[in-house]
Subunit: 184 residues, 2 copies
């Protein structure tokens, strides 16, 4: 459930994923609280950003769990992952853009762990013959994340309907832009 802190963090993401330099004023207003209260909940800007990152990682990690990406065939696992991750795409977009967090050991470790799970999925998919081997698993993993972030931005700014987002992401990433006469 969305605790009090989490709802503030989600409001913060809405602002920060678009403008990482936004003032605390603005974030507080978006969260519907005063700057004073924001300060009471989070000691300062740095702490706030850190917690947004931590929330993003928790959600991403939870998405990997609910999608059970280690099970079944790789393509189906990836499709499940898309469905699970799309609701938190904005959070992922923030994570993707916030390279500053990477010198925080705790965050860094958690990120590394989740990233490894995704890379492993692609590697497994390549070994199963599901994914192309001409593209490195690392690049597949990174590109996937880029597109998740892109979906997050596009939805947030109204350029893409939320209902289409999972389909658009999965189809483009898996199938590419080229039309084909046959289904694979």
């Amino acid at each position: 459930m969305a605790t009090d802190r989490d709802s503030v963090l989600e409001a913060a993401v809405g602002i920060l994923s678009r403008r990482p330099t936004a003032h605390l004023d603005e974030i507080a207003r978006a969260a519907g609280i005063s700057r004073a209260t924001l300060h009471r909940i989070f000691p300062g800007r740095e702490a706030l950003i850190l917690e947004v990152g931590a929330l993003g990682l928790r959600r991403f990690s939870a998405a990997l769990d609910t999608a059970r990406i280690e099970e079944g065939n790789a393509e189906a696992a990836l499709r499940r992952l898309v469905d699970a991750v799309v609701p938190d795409a904005a959070l992922c977009a923030f994570l993707a853009g916030e390279n500053q967090l990477y010198d925080h050991e705790e965050i860094n470790d958690l990120w590394e762990k989740q990233d490894a799970r995704v890379r492993a999925l692609f590697l497994r998919g390549q070994q199963e013959g599901a994914f192309r081997v001409e593209l490195s698993a690392a690049w597949l993993s990174e590109a996937f994340f880029d597109l998740v972030a892109g979906i997050g931005w596009a939805v947030q700014e109204g350029r893409l309907a939320p209902r289409e987002s999972a389909f658009s992401l999965a189809e483009l990433f898996l199938g590419g832009a080229l039309r084909r006469s046959d289904t694979p």
Copy 2:
């Protein structure tokens, strides 16, 4: 050719695309000049950022020109575009992340114009039967840009070899991650 200003701007991109909040000190050092000289060339931070954006758009526009995206079949045009745009991927990554520039009329207009050209390419490709029609031209265009930015980041941080970048971008975007028995 890279005039004096442009070389400073390119150094600035190297820093700013990774950390948009970097101090001017750092940017000056990266450009090999002093903070005083940086101030002499660009009146201030805002002006610098603006010019970086303008350079990015000029380069992107030039890439669309050299790729002659309006000519020939759409797939080939897109492949040419990939080759033309990859050298400036870092600049594009900056553009993608810098939504602040969008309230500058001049920049905004220029961006809108180039974006329209790319969208037109995808639309044309869909009409020719080259690109899938289940995905909107707007999303194809946006996703393409997301991946260009991703390539820029990955190369800049050494996660992807520059020589592989054009291939990785074109293949993933056009063909997707799924392996296929036949070539389309």
